[in-house]
């Protein structure tokens, strides 16, 4: 089993072992930082792995917004002539704070943490974790190759029927 992604035409395959490593890194980060939630996502807004207290949070919606926010920041950096991209975004709320950090060009780490947790700890541990995730991703890119065909003709036919049922359409 694996997770497949394409970036700039190159496919990245997350093996079960590498996926477990990512989850362990997230768990370790949450234990050490006392952050309430951490999401590892790609820049297109797909959540890949997350940990912590996600009650009441629509992960996909939060990730889509975070990815949009981060992409806008990258464009701002470019327009301002920054040779290095802005590495993180920090949003301070009344009760909780949000910290977004890039992991290479294609991934993001999204951290939600309580006001009682010092920002310095989050910055330090996020940096350590993104470095470790980046090493893992570089290793994966070297090993990634052929991905299995997951969607066949039968899948497409069954999908058509499911779409008609869900959308209330009559099959022609």
């Amino acid at each position: 089993m694996d997770i497949q992604q394409r970036h700039n035409g190159k496919r990245v395959v997350f093996s079960e072992a590498s996926f477990q490593k990512i989850r362990l890194l997230i768990r370790d980060f949450l234990l050490r930082s006392r952050a309430s939630m951490c999401i590892f996502a790609d820049v297109n807004g797909y959540p890949i792995a997350y940990g912590g207290d996600s009650r009441g949070v629509q992960i996909s919606s939060l990730t889509a917004l975070a990815a949009g926010s981060f992409s806008a920041t990258l464009e701002m950096a470019r327009w301002l002539g920054e040779e290095q991209r802005f590495r993180f975004i920090y949003h301070e709320g009344a009760h909780r704070n949000l910290y977004l950090s890039n992991i290479g060009d294609n991934y993001l780490m999204i951290v939600l943490f309580d006001k009682s947790v010092p920002l310095g700890i989050i910055r330090l541990l996020t940096r350590q974790t993104t470095d470790r995730l980046n090493e893992l991703l570089n290793d994966l890119r070297r090993k990634s190759d052929q991905a299995t065909q997951l969607l066949d003709l039968e899948f497409r036919d069954l999908l058509d029927k499911e779409l008609d049922r869900t959308f209330g359409l009559n099959r022609s």
Binding site: I3, S60, S71, L153, F155, L158, T166, G168
Partner: protein, 192 residues
């Protein structure tokens, strides 16, 4: 496309493109209102104070398991106003299919063409092109008395002969047919 074999999910990104005020957000609002809340997220809209799309609208929907896999769809709109070109570029990244929402009124024809060319330019930046990219044309506002004929719209806009649908998005007409076609094209492209 994003495949998560652990949760056995396949996620597709569908982007609604088109000139300002052509009805992109209305498409998503209709989908949001008509789908069972159990299978869709909240509709997120990043709007200006004038209720125009500032960055994007976002809606996630999912279907039941098919051959053990759960298809999910991330639906985005782009801001149609000319000054938000870079926002459009960002939202378009990673799209598996596009719905181009055209305004059927003759006076909007230049806007439709400009937006279509803008889409092509942005696809080229992503090393893609309309001629080989899954996209659906939706002729919206078909209920307006001054709406242009389909023959004229097809001749002026659909020079690549992509599938098209007539719609009155404010009444929900043609919205789901268009989305179904976009999904089919995205999945077809993924299986090639």
């Amino acid at each position: 496309m994003h495949v998560d074999a652990f949760k056995r999910e396949v996620i597709f990104k569908i982007v609604y493109f088109g000139p300002g005020l052509s009805g992109k957000t209305t498409n998503l609002e209709v989908i949001y209102k008509n789908l069972d809340p159990q299978i869709r997220s909240d509709l997120i809209s990043l709007k200006t104070s004038e209720e125009r799309t500032l960055y994007f609208d976002f809606l996630e929907m999912e279907l039941g398991r098919i051959k053990g896999r759960k298809p999910r769809f991330h639906l985005y709109t782009i801001p149609g106003q000319p000054q938000y070109g870079w926002s459009r570029q960002i939202v378009l990244r990673g799209a598996d299919a596009v719905v181009f929402v055209a305004d059927s009124q003759p006076m909007r024809m230049d806007d439709n063409l400009t937006s279509l060319m803008d889409l092509e330019i942005k696809l080229i930046r992503l090393r893609k092109t309309l001629a080989r990219f899954p996209w659906v044309m939706q002729y919206n506002k078909r209920d307006l008395p001054q709406a242009e004929s389909i023959e004229v719209l097809e001749r002026k806009l659909n020079f690549l002969h992509t599938p098209f649908y007539e719609a009155v998005a404010t009444k929900g007409i043609g919205v789901f047919e268009t989305l179904k076609c976009a999904i089919q094209m995205a999945v077809q492209k993924a299986t090639l």
